[in-house]
Symmetry: C2
Subunit: 351 residues, 2 copies
């Protein structure tokens, strides 16, 4: 197969600008390696609310279901964040998409790039050599439990639930990943307080017996938040639930020296979506200053997913080169910086 249908969801804020650079990289890969990517654009998030009233229009969902992969930009707009009474919010679009497509596993590699180590708030000896990947459950937990606000508005409730089945399918992916890496899985939970965490601990402990070559250990989430900064090198695969994964994967982004370089994959049994982990960064919207590399690297993860490893490696090499030569946006080097589109041009030319 050399022809692929890609749904592109630029989203909000800087989403469209960075996604465009990722598409340019895909085009270059297509030219060099003989693949054809057919793109269909779709709306999601604040822009979708503005145009259709719905953060995830049916059309978008249908397009995603039919495509081989989804390339997504970013979501969110401050005009909704501070209005707790807004009934429709951009994030609902992304959450619904994850749920409807069954994208239950979010994978976030965390690596310290040599050229960026100086940009990290952490000391070089702490982070150099870090190579971790976070496996975050994405369609369960408190994100998708019942939500209630009492009639008088004085009491709010969120329910969190997990089933053995949800935990097992995640754990299998994490253990399999560990097998081709450093053979260690760390489960992050709060089993000293939460019933759901105790079910995670029990289920994962059982299932670990099927992977005797992989070491399993446990960390309470509060301790994990500390250990990630004190000694990130101790981790190989981190396995965790939806909410804890949200927090610690964003926290872990500081290790690499730039959140502008971190990509992620959200996979299910039928579909897969690729996105930078940074947000919509509305202050930079339309200014051609946003760092496109995380989106470009998401495209590389997308290629890996489609089995096009040659293309994925070509993109990664181009990103590496842009870092070495300093062809980067102002967040990486404010003294000598290039625009979003110039960085994108360099990447696609280099490929």
């Amino acid at each position: 197969k050399t022809k692929f249908n890609i749904t592109v969801i630029p989203g909000d804020g800087i989403g469209p600008e960075v996604t465009k650079q990722a598409q340019k990289a895909l085009e270059a890969v297509g030219d060099v390696y003989g693949y054809t990517f057919l793109y269909k654009e779709a709306l999601m998030g604040a822009c979708a609310i503005d145009e259709t009233g719905n953060p995830l229009p049916d059309e978008t969902l249908e397009l995603c279901k039919e495509s081989d992969a989804i390339l997504f930009g970013a979501i969110g707009d401050p005009k909704y964040d501070n209005d707790p009474s807004a009934k429709v919010r951009p994030e609902q679009g992304l959450l619904k998409l994850r749920k409807e497509l069954g994208l239950f596993c979010n994978i976030r590699p965390v690596k310290a790039y040599d050229t960026l180590i100086k940009n990290s708030p952490l000391k070089e000896e702490i982070i150099s050599g870090t190579d971790t990947v976070i496996y975050r459950e994405l369609t369960g937990g408190i994100y998708f439990g019942i939500k209630e606000l009492s009639d008088d508005g004085k009491q709010a409730f969120d329910g969190c639930s997990y089933s053995v089945e949800e935990i097992e399918r995640m754990a299998h992916l994490a253990f399999k990943a560990a097998r081709s890496r450093k053979k260690k899985v760390t489960l992050v939970d709060k089993a000293n307080v939460l019933e759901t965490s105790r079910l995670w601990r029990k289920t994962v402990t059982e299932l670990a017996k099927e992977y005797p070559d992989v070491e399993l250990d446990f960390l309470f989430v509060d301790n994990a938040a500390m250990q990630l900064i004190l000694n990130p090198k101790q981790f190989d695969v981190i396995l965790t639930g939806n909410l804890f994964g949200d927090i610690i994967s964003d926290e872990a982004s500081v290790i690499g020296g730039s959140i502008g370089l971190l990509a992620s994959a959200s996979v299910g049994s039928e579909n897969a979506l690729f996105e930078p982990i940074h947000g919509s960064f509305p202050q930079a919207k339309g200014k051609d200053i946003a760092n496109p590399l995380a989106s470009v690297l998401s495209a590389a993860m997308l290629l890996d997913h489609l089995g096009l490893q040659d293309g994925a490696r070509a993109i990664e090499a181009a990103v590496q080169k842009s870092l070495e030569l300093g062809i980067t946006t102002e967040d990486i080097n404010s003294e000598r910086s290039f625009s979003t589109s110039k960085v994108g041009d360099f990447i696609s030319d280099y490929i």
Copy 2:
């Protein structure tokens, strides 16, 4: 008043060793400034389970209720952590004590000590000058919601709820604290996903109008976990719920260069408890190597609470001096280190 009843709960692991040093510091303060502290020791945690089968014996609870303040060590034992089916766990003792005494507000100062900056995994320019305090809600949220495990053991549930009242009493304390500090409160929540967080945001936004001299801003918890490391100086008072507070306050402990120096207060309308934020560190139990300074500084917070500011400042000065002279345990300086009790001796002698 110069006579005070203190309930001392040494707890598990290194709890007894460090609490003893804190008591020595209190004794020295008593001698110098003419106060009398009457101590009663009580059981809680794994040691209480071992002796009585109950992580919080009634006797302990009664003693705490009658005392002017509670000095607590640490809780937890690994033999319970990896046994998800244990019906009785040490942590239940602490959680129940917080709930029964209504200790709804946990206060954790985060400061970068000049002498310790080199020990931090963060770069000096990032942390120097950090002076933040975290106000964590302590008797609500998912910690105290309903917990369920289905009969077949295949589905677990945790409920999280918050009421306007619970949020308001916390917010008042945080805004009042901000008034005597840098006049800024940052609410950390996940209002783009959780109903309870939206209630926090709405309630705090309303209440902020009573404090027009204090600036209020908001951060999603994932972003907060990142910002705490990228730029901790941006924060003054951080206000947040129970679970998020647990995670980010442990994360914030890396800023100071040593978790062995961080104290906390848990206050309610009738009672107050003081404890180091570090855990029971069972590997070090009985070895006379644990850092007692966090416990000693908890005693200083206790004195402040009792209105004995002179004693509190004397303890702080002694701790400062021990850092300057390098009279510290091996976690701070492994090349030249002193035992737990020697550090405690220095503190009380200096006072």
